[in-house]
């Protein structure tokens, strides 16, 4: 919970800087960042709807949830609003959360024509602005607790991956290996993947990219065996260039991909400059193989969090 309190402090500071009075969040990673709530995981994209409200002036977090199960005790039950099939009710719940405060600028992390209209209706004097870029910047540098949570997620991904290595062999299919990863995750108490395991078996060569979400935090790795050494060397080369001040685009050649890691995938572009406390997935995919590690940017370079 210490971490969620720090997330809220950081987020409210960013809101104050941007003159944002209220944040309406539809993306689960954003909602979890500011609320600490563990709601039912669903795969894939879903259209925007305000499922978490952070009021800048009061710091109150309001959450779309029919129950307090999975909701931190810091959020009183009076601040839970149940799911509704009438979008107007969700817009009204967002507006009710701001009662008694001044709302001139409302930041959203997504929008639809429907909700643009409804939110204009319930916040007639307010301007709708970009909340996704605001949270993207806030979430990028991790707190100490965030890093601990990612380390724990990486530990689960590593351990479940070891079961894949132990099972791989002549005649064992990619589907079975993906299944073994999922089963081991479950045995380790984790049921939410960062993505469905991406595993190929060609002759005796296995390429596996796997990731888990533990308490929402991602841990990801990719390995190819046998013969993964050139891929590993390419990743190691890119990781060797990681240090604060370096632009993302300068990490390795164009076969190297660099993504942000946090509460699931986080967006990075080539022009973004590394800072200590950022967490990255640095990977390569080529020649039917893959390799990649979850990496913490430190004050002096990089710490590879994955083993295996």
């Amino acid at each position: 919970m210490a971490s969620t309190a720090e997330h809220q402090t950081r987020t409210r500071a960013a809101m104050a800087d941007a003159g944002v009075d209220v944040l309406l969040l539809g993306r689960e990673g954003n909602a979890r960042y500011v609320s600490g709530a563990n709601r039912l995981w669903l795969a894939g994209t879903r259209p925007f709807a305000p499922s978490c409200v952070l009021v800048g002036e009061t710091g109150a977090v309001h959450l779309l949830s029919v129950t307090d199960d999975g909701v931190p005790p810091e959020i009183p039950t009076a601040r839970l609003y149940p799911i509704s099939w009438n979008p107007l009710n969700l817009a009204a719940a967002a507006a009710a959360a701001t009662a008694g405060t001044t709302v001139r600028r409302v930041a959203v992390d997504g929008i639809s024509p429907l909700f643009a209209g409804l939110l204009h209706g319930v916040f007639p004097d307010a301007e709708l602005v970009d909340g996704e870029s605001l949270l993207r910047a806030v979430r990028r540098v991790k707190t100490r607790d965030d890093v601990s949570a990612i380390r724990a997620a990486v530990g689960v991904a590593d351990a479940a991956f070891q079961a894949v290595v132990a099972t791989a062999g002549p005649g064992v299919s990619a589907a079975t290996l993906a299944g073994v990863f999922a089963q081991r995750m479950g045995e380790l108490g984790v049921t939410t993947p960062a993505f469905a395991p991406v595993i190929t078996v060609a002759a005796d060569r296995v390429a596996a990219r796997v990731g888990v979400l533990l308490d929402g935090w991602a841990g990801i790795l990719a390995r190819t065996w046998p013969g993964g050494e050139p891929l590993a060397a390419a990743v190691a080369g890119a990781v060797g260039a990681v240090r604060p001040g370096v632009p993302v685009a300068e990490l390795g050649d164009d076969t190297v991909t660099v993504d942000g890691v946090g509460l699931g995938h986080e967006e990075l572009i080539g022009a973004d400059v590394l800072e200590a406390g950022m967490v990255l997935f640095v990977g390569v995919e080529r020649d039917g193989g893959c390799w990649g590690d979850t990496v913490l940017v430190t004050e002096t370079g990089a710490e590879v969090l994955t083993s295996g």
Partner: protein, 394 residues
């Protein structure tokens, strides 16, 4: 266990499915007087083009998403994607490199690529919303709903197959449900089995909720009604636990929806049998009136009251549709109210997931899910759940 995938008896023509869906969407655009449809939701992109990206958590799915542009003139759609090999060739789609709509540059590229005319979108990133402000984008749900509401024969076969895989995995799992086993372990078994059966992943974190015997003894409820679903934990099951099960996978992007109730340890008594029978009676009463022309209000009226309450959850529904989204139109029994229910008129090809909840407060209850497709003169069942454990053979 083996990774022998299931064989299916029904026929499926994927190319025909892709063509028929696109044609329906083009017709729906005309019906809504729209010229251009931009789709960001991955279920909608699949519907319009057959392009499906790998299963992933929301944040990853947003990053990798394919984007589709459909036009009312019926020309092949445009698909922007990093995975051109995942776009079927049946429509002759114009496949272009992925656009990153999370950033201004990608949003501007999409804006510049769009044909003129009246535009609708299903969802927007903030940069895309800003880029399209001059186009005054309309909400696409009218056109999408009109196209998707009634399924083609191939779509129904996909739902049948998704459900068959889900049911097969659960059947093999039932032996593993025992005192001391945790929900997370059960999820591991389940996901392994669906992957081995050829599914690409679970679309919802599987739910195995141990029900308190009364609403008051359960978790806080913002509606005052029964709380369901809750997130699976590492709490071990105990003998006699009543477990509400809810799982979902997909086949070609079409969703299954499996629900059932288990009694851990298998000691099913007269009370459990009574709850199960009441659930079956409720479904039978609803199915009795399920045919073209019937309204959603007819279904809720047929469901009546059981143990002094409406036999479904206040925050959910008596029935929902399913397709490329796990819950899509038609919705019956929601907080949209009776007037809305009365406006839902059943037609052939509509799919309904009936999910009444029988709740006998203080003595627990029963929940399962039954999926049907409306036919010309009644309905076909797309799910085949078994209730022998409750002494019911059907």
């Amino acid at each position: 266990m083996s990774d022998q995938t299931l064989s299916f008896s029904g026929s499926l023509d994927r190319a025909r499915m892709v063509r028929e869906r696109h044609a329906r969407l083009v017709d729906a655009l005309a019906g809504e007087e729209l010229d251009v449809l931009v789709l960001l939701g991955q279920g909608n992109v699949n519907y319009a083009t057959g392009a499906r990206m790998p299963d992933a958590d929301q944040a990853q799915a947003l990053h990798h998403r394919a984007v589709a542009v459909v036009t009312a003139d019926g020309t092949p759609p445009v698909v922007f994607t990093s995975a051109p090999e995942r776009v079927p060739t049946d429509l002759g789609a114009d496949v272009r490199p992925r656009l990153d709509l999370e950033w201004e540059a990608g949003a501007a590229q999409l804006r510049d690529a769009l044909p003129p005319g009246r535009l609708a979108v299903d969802d927007l990133t903030v940069p895309l919303w800003q880029a399209l402000a001059d186009r005054d984008p309309q909400d696409a749900s009218g056109a999408l709903g009109a196209a998707k509401l009634c399924k083609t024969a191939d779509e129904l076969e996909c739902i049948r197959r998704a459900q068959a895989v889900n049911e097969a995995a659960i059947t093999e799992l039932e032996g593993a449900v025992a005192p001391g086993v945790t929900g997370t372990e059960l999820t591991g078994h389940f996901v392994r089995r669906i992957l081995e059966l050829g599914a690409s992943g679970s679309t919802v974190d599987p739910v195995w909720q141990v029900m308190a015997s009364s609403i008051a003894a359960g978790p806080f409820s913002a509606t005052g009604d029964l709380v369901f679903p809750t997130v699976t934990t590492q709490q071990p099951f105990q003998a006699g636990d009543v477990v509400f099960v809810d799982t979902g996978i997909h086949y070609e992007g079409y969703q299954s929806d499996y629900g059932h109730t288990w009694v851990v340890g298998g000691d099913i008594d007269a009370r459990h049998r009574e709850h199960c029978q009441r659930w079956l009676d409720t479904v039978d009463a609803v199915l009795e009136v399920t045919k073209p022309g019937a309204t959603g209000r007819d279904l809720t009226r047929a469901a009546g009251e059981v143990y002094g309450r409406r036999p479904w959850l206040a925050h959910l529904y008596l029935a929902h549709g399913t397709g490329t989204e796990s819950a899509e139109m038609p919705f019956v029994g929601t907080d949209l109210g009776e007037e809305f229910d009365a406006s839902i008129v059943l037609a052939p090809g509509m799919v309904l997931v009936l999910e009444p909840v029988i709740w006998d407060d203080g003595r627990s209850g029963f929940r399962s899910e039954h999926i049907i497709a409306v036919t010309d003169d009644g309905f076909d069942s797309l799910s085949h759940l078994r209730y022998e454990a409750y002494g019911v053979d059907r």
